[in-house]
Amino acid sequence: MKKLRLDHNLTGWLYMLPAILFLGVFMVYPLIDVLIYSVEENYNFASQVYSGYGFFNYSYVLHDTYFVQALKNTFIIVIITVPVSTGLALLISLGLSSIGKVQSLFQTVYFLPYVTNTLAVGLVFMVLFKKTAYSDGLINLLINAFGGKSIDFIDGPYWAKIMVMCIYTIWVVIPFKILILTSALASVNQDYYKAARVDGTSPFRIFYRITLPMISSTIFYLIITGFIGAFKAYSDEVALFGTDLNSAGMNTIVGYVYDMLYGNSGGYPSYASAAALILFAIVFTITVINLLISKKAMTQ
């Protein structure tokens, strides 16, 4: 009986073989490899030898001031940019869907940052914020005009740098969210709004009781992918502060992983793997929490 079942299933397995092969080679194997790297103590990259297995790498990473700094930066970016960008995107989308004629024009304008290269956007931000020998940057000119003192946003105090970082991140992620939200808003049947109007529902109540529940699944999708994307931030930081993020104090977890592998302090795949797995654990936990909350909110 059991043998018959296996024969029967063989075709099925055969069909799945390409997918299994690809996933195995490019997803499962690297994951296992990273796991092994992260527990090999005193691993030497050149001679490929290690002294034994243990959790020293994790302990090292967690006590590394650079990693702690990266962790702090990443969390600040996540906590600020995800809610702010989603909220702003929702406001802009609501505005976009309520203006009639020039909607497509504005939609294009808002979508431009999405198709623009990160580094090119970084350049624009340099013009806005960076102090050079010739200019203090546009924002500082504005601050000066109102009688304030110039602030060095790129090489100056930590709060200024993290603020620029957050603005930059929001700037980069918002177009995609607007795109998704405007289409979600457009898909809500107009009859619901008509029905609500006949019943004299105030605009705020219409938004809160009808629009928001109708697009809640889209909002949760954006929040979840937003969290994941923000936790994996790296290239945006490079675009603003250059490749030596550790000395700028603006490193992120992914940046730390990269530095441990290939950066100036590189050549430590064990530490990099440990840091990567810590990031994985964080993202996984947050995503599970997000999903639980969204499931609860949607069934209400």
Partner: protein, 365 residues
């Protein structure tokens, strides 16, 4: 509440950039809908009947004209201040709310003195739900119910505020045939019980005729005839109304009047007191009498048995010319039609024959 429409007109600007012609959706409406009646707005698709309903509701602003509820001019009032309840074609039930929440939703919008407590709202919702007999389904979500049940919820939601006017947009079009029969009786019953002036839109003449106290027949934005269903059926004012009402449809022949005689293809079918001219002659299916020497001769095609009646299907060139593909007459099954013959002769019941001017298509008699 009485509803009066005075010179009501709605013109939509053209959306097409090249073709600037405007669309006159509602053209100079003048009607008075008496208090407590069930009125059907009837017309083919795209005739402006839904626009008319939206104007009464307040969702659209009229280009010209006035709307009165009782003696009050509500033309410039927003929908919520008119005291109307509206049931949308697709019901527009909020999918994320339970039936009870859907029904109480309009009540939650009350402000100031009219504000209700939770208990009062539940009580009113239950009352409305009982009226449409869905009180057992209060905890369900819309997608967990059948189309007919959703329809009832939509009606309950429209009624819970005790509106002065209830408006229904194609209330039966999303239901299957059996439910449609049942639901239209239901609408009639609810209207009778509440006594609320109700206006509903439909393209199905049978639906409108069966339950309305009054029907308004429309075409291309214009009202063609207003009246009691039987009256409109018996005395159509023009060819369109005659053709639009009745199943099976009226049989139209080309004909003419000569010397006070009504002729179809050179045979005089009736006397008529009217000047000579070309005419269209509409004959209801029940207006034919099988008679061996009758004046109207048709080519017999087949006989369809329907139990109580039989339907005789035949052809006539004058009918073909007027666009009636086959002449359908309904006669009592006691008559015996010899199907082996290829000709059949009829005489006509004068009150089932309607004569229209060939140019204006207006009724002559």
């Amino acid at each position: 509440m009485k509803v009066v429409l005075r010179e009501l007109t709605k013109i939509f600007p053209s959306r097409d950039k090249k073709d600037k012609t405007e669309v006159v959706a509602v053209d100079d409406f003048n009607i008075e809908i008496p208090d407590g009646k069930l009125v059907g707005l009837l017309g083919p698709s795209g005739c402006g009947k839904s626009t008319a309903l939206n104007l009464i509701c307040g969702l659209e602003k009229p280009t010209r004209g006035q709307i009165f509820f009782g003696d009050e001019d509500v033309t410039d009032l927003p929908p919520e201040e008119r005291g109307v309840g509206m049931v949308f074609q697709n019901y527009a039930l909020y999918p994320h709310m339970t039936v009870e929440k859907n029904i109480t939703f309009p009540l939650e919008n009350f402000k100031g003195d009219k504000k209700l407590t939770k208990e009062e709202m539940s009580a009113k919702a239950l009352e409305a739900a009982k009226l449409v007999q869905i009180e057992a389904l209060m905890a369900r979500k819309p997608k967990e119910m059948s189309g007919g049940q959703q329809q009832r919820v939509a009606i309950a939601r429209a009624l819970v505020k005790r509106p002065k006017i209830l408006l229904l947009d194609e209330p039966l079009s999303n239901l299957d045939a059996r439910l449609r029969l049942q639901t239209r009786e239901e609408i009639r019953r609810i209207q009778r019980e509440t006594g609320i002036t109700t206006i509903f839109v439909t393209h199905d003449q049978e639906e409108a005729m069966s339950i309305s106290d009054m029907i308004v027949v429309m075409k291309s934005g214009r009202i063609h005839q207003v009246g009691r269903p039987q009256e409109v059926y018996d005395k159509p004012v023009n060819l369109f109304v005659a053709k639009f009402l009745g199943t099976p449809a009226i049989n139209v022949f080309k004909g003419y009047i000569r010397n006070k005689g009504l002729y179809i293809s050179d045979s005089k079918v009736m006397d008529i007191d009217s000047p000579d001219r070309e005419v269209f002659i509409g004959i209801r299916p029940e207006g034919f009498i099988l008679e061996e020497n009758g004046p109207l001769e048709c080519r017999l095609d087949r006989v369809e048995v329907m139990g109580r009646d039989i339907s005789v299907v035949s052809f006539h060139d004058a009918a073909t010319e007027a666009g009636t593909v086959c002449v359908r007459s309904i006669i009592s099954a006691e008559n015996d039609v010899d199907e082996s013959k290829d000709k059949v002769r009829f005489s006509l019941k004068p009150n089932k024959v309607h004569v229209f001017d060939a140019q204006t298509e207006e009724v002559i008699r």
